[in-house]
């Protein structure tokens, strides 16, 4: 960063938090993601009023109320659609979407694919606890096939959904995995993701201490920031498919075409002149 670019006012993480205390269970991984996000925003020194943070429904999707930015707590699974509308209408904003694995990969799966494909400049934070937390412990698309629950007493028997693989195949230009228990690594990933121009998937392993208490062991299993960044999709595919899910870091980042607002680029005439020509075209 050059000298004259140093901002006058340096933001602190707490500047971005609202006065509301999260409803999350004590120890829930989502707390640490909130903290890392505020640190990333402060690091980037973004103006609070120029951030749009939208979410769906779930424990994780409660996030917007806990930041003092423009937020939107929408309906289950549709955060990315909402974010896409917002970003296209307001290209000046930093748009972040957030939610859970159920929200993003199950009910919102179609939007996930198409948001990757459009590669709009949106950061998507998925707080993946491999369970539906808010509805009290049902298997999600990222649950292990043999994970027992009330709804699937013998496990689902289904292979795990591979969100990073899908993102790569669908055209996302930034793909990373973080761990809520690694505040520094996560802050770094989030900072890079927000700065990246294009669609950034940040898949974060975030333990649900209530319905998946065994996830507390993730602390031992995770390999922190061990991944080598590549812009080559073949290499990225190998790293993504080769990973057991415990590697963290940025797997893929590439400069790819971004879907952007068209209007900003081509508006040669005033509204009244444009309207006049639009109406003229209707004449017999």
């Amino acid at each position: 960063m050059s000298v004259e670019k140093i901002p006058v006012k340096k933001a602190r993480p707490n500047d971005y938090t609202s006065e509301h205390h999260p409803v999350w269970c004590p120890g829930c991984g989502h707390f640490f993601i909130l903290r890392a996000l505020t640190k990333a925003l402060a690091w980037l020194n973004l103006d609070k009023e120029n951030i749009g943070l939208v979410s769906g429904i779930g424990c994780s999707s409660r996030l917007p109320a806990y930041l003092d930015v423009y937020g939107f707590h929408g309906v289950h699974g549709r955060a990315l659609a909402l974010a896409s509308g917002l970003k296209l209408a307001r290209p000046d904003l930093t748009v972040i979407a957030a939610g859970g694995d159920g929200d993003g990969y199950s009910i919102g799966g179609n939007h996930f694919i198409h948001a990757c494909r459009r590669n709009m400049d949106i950061t998507y934070i998925v707080m993946d606890n491999e369970v539906y937390g808010m509805t009290k412990g049902q298997p999600s698309p990222t649950s292990d096939p043999d994970w027992h629950s009330k709804l699937a007493p013998k496990g689902t028997g289904l292979a795990r959904f591979n969100p990073m693989g899908i993102a790569l195949a669908s055209g996302a230009s930034f793909i990373a995995r973080g761990f809520s228990g690694d505040p520094n690594g996560l802050t770094k990933i989030l900072t890079e993701a927000i700065e990246h121009k294009g669609f950034s998937l940040v898949e974060i392993k975030s333990p649900c201490v209530t319905f998946r208490p065994e996830q507390k062991d993730w602390h031992h299993a995770m390999r922190l920031m061990n991944v080598t960044l590549t812009a080559n999709p073949m290499e990225a595919a190998q790293a993504i498919y080769g990973s057991d899910g415990f590697d963290t870091g940025i797997f893929f980042q590439a400069d790819m075409p971004v879907y952007e607002a068209e209007a900003a680029n081509e508006k040669p005439h005033s509204d009244s002149a444009s309207m006049e020509s639009i109406e003229k075209a209707l004449l017999v």
Partner: protein, 587 residues
């Protein structure tokens, strides 16, 4: 604007053309409509297609007049068949009687039984033989010439219209086509339908426009800046029309992956400050319902245009019905007050869609604009429509850089009007989180009894207290009438013509066309109808509007309904008898 002598029944010329895939019946229709308009007249054109996606049989039905005309004729006066392949599909759309003249290409097939049995005058001509004499020409252009000659349409209007449609294909194409037109014009000598010659042409500017385009134009005038949609018949034309002009006006269009996305995209864009809309039809509207409730609860302005088609389920995609009223009124879960508005004809779709978008902005809520396949896809020659002088806009907090940020901004503040100032991203000190959960005034989720009651009331109060002015209905009161007919949407023009005719014959019937269906102006409607016999006319099987008006106590308990399902639009002639019968029973 031209002053039309509003005759009871406008003079009318009904012409239809049909042909199998590739014969170009629709092209003839489009050129004819444009040429007749250039000659100084009015008209409308509807289309019908066989089930084949592309290249199947098709038919166009045209109605011409010396004044704006939106209704359909009782029968086709002149039908031109480019061939008879699968003509029986159009039996309903193209009624033939003993007063019809049918001109047909006779080198291949004889007319089918239903045509012969109609008693129509049949005239076979060998179009193929004519085409062989003009290199590169097509039989539809010969047909164009025949129709022009029959209705008394001068050659140069055809040429001008052809130039507009085919001009970009080069002058040779236009010349060849005109040679075929000339051959067609020279084929027959008498002009039994020389209607145009008897009418006074206008030299005023007129628009050639479909109802779907009218909705697009109205929303652009209303300041539309964002549209998202997933294609569905018969609504797609709206967004197709908008694609270019919206960008010209500084807006954006997003092709959504499905209707769930489209509706949420609209909400996101509108949250960002862009007046926004989507367009769909019944099946798509079904997918939007959950997010439509979000627009209501989170108080986000959003316009949804639904162009009804035959239902339920996939129904009849290409034909019209007024059977999604209940869906627009009741499909949202919870107590979710919103607006349901419907234009009464094609021409007013321009102003009513502008009004609908403006109301969504002013009231910060969901507005569903309900039209249908007929209103949307019928092409019409109309007088240009002046922009509505509306001053409605979204209430925003006053930007005050010295604002006391310690006093936290209350996005959902309870106010007298129920409308709270809505900040937009970018406005410092006014950050908030929009919320679909029951919330407090600041937007924090809450499940408390008081918050729930307060905000339910706030949201219904804001749309109930609002003064909608005169646009809520179109009234055609009749002095001393004891009978009132109420209708809505695409049924209106046909009902209006039938009522006028009956009034002319000595009956006394008042007519009310409802535009603002929710919130229903029930008191005003009740005051107008309390001592009246009321008949509600609508195009669905279950009398949806009638039941709604009764439930809201907006019409007397002994009111009756004339409800018939689609997919054929009412013709004025269909309604005379039912209205008469009702009046006889109800005197």
């Amino acid at each position: 604007m031209p002053n039309h002598h509003q005759q009871t029944v406008p003079p009318r010329l009904a012409v239809s053309i049909s042909g199998s895939g590739g014969t170009g019946a629709v092209t003839v229709g489009l050129i004819l409509l444009d040429a007749v308009a250039k000659a100084g007249f009015y008209g409308n054109m509807t289309r019908a297609f066989g089930p084949q996606i592309r290249g199947g049989e098709s038919a166009v039905m045209l109605h011409f007049s010396d004044q704006p005309i939106e209704t359909l004729a009782e029968f086709s006066q002149l039908h031109l068949a480019l061939d008879w392949v699968k003509f029986d599909r159009f039996e309903d759309e193209i009624p033939l009687t003993a007063d019809s003249l049918v001109i047909y290409e006779n080198s291949r097939e004889k007319p089918p039984g239903l045509v012969e049995n109609s008693g129509a005058t049949l005239l076979g001509v060998d179009l193929q033989a004519i085409v062989k004499t003009i290199k590169g020409s097509r039989i539809n252009m010969v047909a164009l010439g025949i129709v022009a000659q029959q209705i008394g349409l001068a050659r140069h209007f055809i040429e001008a219209a052809l130039q507009k449609t085919l001009g970009r294909k080069g002058s040779e194409v236009v010349e060849t086509s005109m040679a075929a037109v000339d051959a067609g014009m020279a084929l027959l000598t008498d002009t039994p339908l020389s209607g145009l010659a008897n009418w006074q042409p206008t030299h005023q500017p007129r628009w050639n426009m479909s109802g779907n385009e009218a909705c697009g134009l109205g929303t652009l005038r209303g300041g539309l800046k964002f549209a998202a949609a997933y294609p569905i018949t018969p609504a797609t034309d709206i967004v197709e029309y908008l694609a270019r002009p919206l960008v010209q006006m500084g807006g954006n269009l997003l092709i959504a992956e499905d209707e769930l996305a489209a509706m949420n995209m609209v909400i996101g864009a509108s949250f960002g400050g862009a007046p926004s809309m989507t367009a769909t039809s019944g099946p798509g509207l079904s997918l939007m319902i959950e997010a439509m409730g979000l627009a209501v609860a989170a108080e986000i302005p959003a316009l949804v245009i639904t162009v009804m088609r035959g239902g339920p389920s996939t129904g009849i995609p290409t034909k019209s019905e007024q059977s999604d009223l209940n869906q627009a009124l009741y499909a949202l879960h919870g107590d979710a007050p919103h607006l349901v508005i419907a234009p009464l004809n094609i021409q007013e779709s321009v102003n009513i869609s502008q009004w609908a978008l403006a109301l969504s902005e002013a009231l910060q809520t969901l507005v569903i604009l309900v039209t249908d396949q007929h209103l949307g896809q019928t092409r019409m020659i109309m007088d240009p429509v002046d922009k509505l002088p509306l001053t409605l806009s979204r209430l925003q907090p006053k930007a005050d850089p010295t604002a006391d940020t310690a006093v936290h901004y209350q996005r959902y503040q309870i106010t007298d009007s129920g409308i709270s100032p809505m900040s937009l991203p970018g406005m410092g000190s006014y950050q908030y989180a929009a919320e679909g959960l029951t919330h407090t005034e600041s937007g924090l989720p809450s499940s408390r009894v008081q918050d729930h009651a307060q905000h339910l009331h706030k949201r219904s109060h804001k749309i109930l207290q609002f003064d909608y002015g005169e646009l809520w209905a179109q009234r055609l009161p009749m002095a001393n009438a004891q009978h009132t007919v109420i209708t809505w949407g695409s049924s209106f023009e046909a009902v209006k013509e039938a009522v006028k005719l009956l009034n002319h014959r000595g009956a006394a019937i008042s007519l009310i066309g409802l535009r603002l269906i929710m919130p229903l102006q029930a008191e005003a409607l009740a005051a107008l109808t309390q001592h009246q016999k009321v008949l509600v006319i609508e195009q669905n099987d279950s009398a949806q509007l009638s039941h709604y008006l009764l439930a809201e106590k907006a019409i007397p308990l002994d009111s009756e309904a004339y409800a018939k399902p689609g997919p054929l639009l009412f013709k004025p002639s269909d309604l005379i008898r039912p209205i008469q019968t009702w009046m006889e029973d109800r005197t």
